[in-house]
Symmetry: C2
Subunit: 346 residues, 2 copies
Amino acid sequence: MKLASLKTGGRDGTLVVVSRDLVTCQAVPKIARTLQAALDDWDAVAPRLQAVYDKLNNGSADQAESFIEMDCHSPLPRAYQWADGSAYINHVELVRKARNAEVPASFYTDPLMYQGGGDSFIGPCDPIAVMSEDWGVDLEAEVAVVTGDVPMGASIDEAAKAIRLVMLVNDVSLRNLIPGELAKGFGFYQSKPASAFSPVAVTPDELGDAWLDSKLHLPLLVTVNDEPFGKPNAGEDMTFSFAQLVSHAAKTRELGAGSIIGSGTVSNKQGGLHGSSIANGGVGYCCLAELRMYETIELGAPATPFLRFGDNVRIEMLDLDGASIFGAIDHEVRHYHGAHSHERKE
Amino acid sequence: MKLASLKTGGRDGTLVVVSRDLVTCQAVPKIARTLQAALDDWDAVAPRLQAVYDKLNNGSADQAESFIEMDCHSPLPRAYQWADGSAYINHVELVRKARNAEVPASFYTDPLMYQGGGDSFIGPCDPIAVMSEDWGVDLEAEVAVVTGDVPMGASIDEAAKAIRLVMLVNDVSLRNLIPGELAKGFGFYQSKPASAFSPVAVTPDELGDAWLDSKLHLPLLVTVNDEPFGKPNAGEDMTFSFAQLVSHAAKTRELGAGSIIGSGTVSNKQGGLHGSSIANGGVGYCCLAELRMYETIELGAPATPFLRFGDNVRIEMLDLDGASIFGAIDHEVRHYHGAHSHERKE
C-alpha cells in the first residue's frame, strides 16, 4: 500500500492512504492519525490501512479525496531516527580517485553510515532553504526504508523483515562545509541540513519484482532545472542491501519503530566523464559532487557549479508501466528568510 | 518547574509535573499527555503546567501522587533530535595529550558536536544493555538542554531564549568501537548506543543563580559502584555555553521543538593523575576514559578497566541545600537478552 502525510493537522501531519495511481487518498483518523502512530502499532494497524487501500484502488472508498503532492509533507515530517548509509561504493571510489587516495578494503564489508537529524524534514515540494550559496548546496538522490522495531544485534534476515516502508530522499548536502567538518573528526552536522522525502512511502510488496534482496531495482530519475541529470538503477552496484544497512545500524542499539535508514547517493559504475552523462549515453548522476569528481579526475578541476538560488531539483521513480511510484520530490533552492518554518505554517 | 515522563501510557510515556522536592507528581492529560506535546505548544502549555507545579509545591494539588524515580522513563523517552557537543575542552586536551597530539586552535572557537540517535533512550534506572563487555562500555556524565523551535542562523542570544529545559545525561559510549568508527570518517554511530537522561527535567529558572550565562554552575556527582568517582563543577571550564552550542547546531538548519543538545563529558582542569581523583582531593572524572588518559600520560598505559556486567553508575546533582534537583540516573550494565525493549514493556 501507499501512505502519505498531509501538512494539515499539526507537526506530524495527517496520515492518508493513497491510491496506487496517486490520484485519490483518504484520511484514516479512526485507524491512525499520523504515520508514526501507525508504525508504533503496525501489526494491528497495517491490515486496516490495507483495507482502505483496497477500496481506494477499486473505487469503492466513500471518503476519497483528490491526492495532491503539493499538500504533502515528508511521510514522516519528523522522525526519531534518520541514519544514512553510503552503500554505493562507486560514489566513494570516485571521491577517493579525485584526490588520489585508495578506498580502504574494509569499506567493502563494513558500511559507512552517518547519523542525521530528524527533527524537521523538508516537505517534498518545499524549498531547500539555505542562508548562503557559498555553502555549496548539492542534492543527493537516494532510496530509504522505514523500519519497525529492530532488536539489538538483528541478523540481516531479521532486519529485512523489519522493513516497513520504502521512499525516496533528497539528502541535501552543503559540500563546502564538509571538508572542515569531517576534519574535526565527529562526522557531519552543519554540512547535512534538513532532508526531503518523497510524498509517498510504499510497502515493499508494492514494488513487486523490483524489490529483490532488499534492494530496489529501478532507475532513480533526477532532473536539475528540468534537464535529465541522472537515471542510475538503484538495484545495481549497491554494495550493501537495506537489510545489511539496518543490521549494521542495530549492531549496538535497538532501533525504534519509524527509524529511517537511507542508501546513500545512488551511483552506477560507468566509463569516464564523456560517456557518463545522460546526454552522452550514460546514466548520469544523483549529485553534483559526482559529476565534479569526474571533472576533477579528467580535467583537473571541477567545472559544474553547485546549486544556486532558484535552481530546481526533481527526484522520482517510475514503475515498468511508466507510472510514478512515490510521487516526486520537486523543489528549488531558496534564501532562508529567518522565520521558523513551523511558525510560517501555522 | 520540574517535569518527568512516567513509563505508562505508551512509547512517549505520560507527562507529569513533579514537586520541587521530588516527592509528589501529577499527570496533566488535559494540558498535555506527553512532554513532546507540551514542547510543541510550549507558550500556551507552560503557564498551565506552572499552575499545577505551584499547587504541588504548596500542598494544594488535589490529584497528587507519590513520585517514584524508578517509574520514570527519560523525560523525552524518544526525541527527534539528540546532538551532543564536547564543550569541556579539558577532556579533548587530555585525549590529545594521551596520544601526543596538539589540540587544533579552531577547537577553542568552533564547537565539536556529534549527531546522536534519539529513537530509543534508556530510562534513568533501566540497565545499560550491551551484547559484549569487549565493546569497552563507559559512562559520560553530562548536562543537556531541551530547546523550543530555533530558527536557522539563530544568534547566541536567540539560542539562549530557546532553552526550555535542563537535565542530566549518561551518554553511554563504547570506547573500543570508537577508533575504528572515527577512522571511517563519518563520526560516531555504533560506538554511541542509547543514552539515558535524569528522571526529571527542569526549567532554567528552577536553577536560580546556578544557571548563569547558559551554564549550570553546580557539581555533577558521579559514583561508580557506590564509590565517589566525579564531582566536577559543570559551570567551570565549559568553553562553550549551551547558548553557543544551540546556536552552532542551528547554523544551517532549524531545530524543532524538543531538540536535545548535550554539553559533552563534564571535565574540570586539574593537576596530574595523583591529585585528580576524589580520594586524593581532586574533583574526579565523569568518564572512565578520562582517568585512563591520565594513567596513559603518567604511567604509559591505562590501568582502570571499562565497565563490566553488573557495574553500577549513578549521576546526580544537588542544589546548595543538598537536595537532588533532577533525581538520579542510577543503573547498571547488563547483558542484552535479545528482545526489543518496547516489546518487553508492553
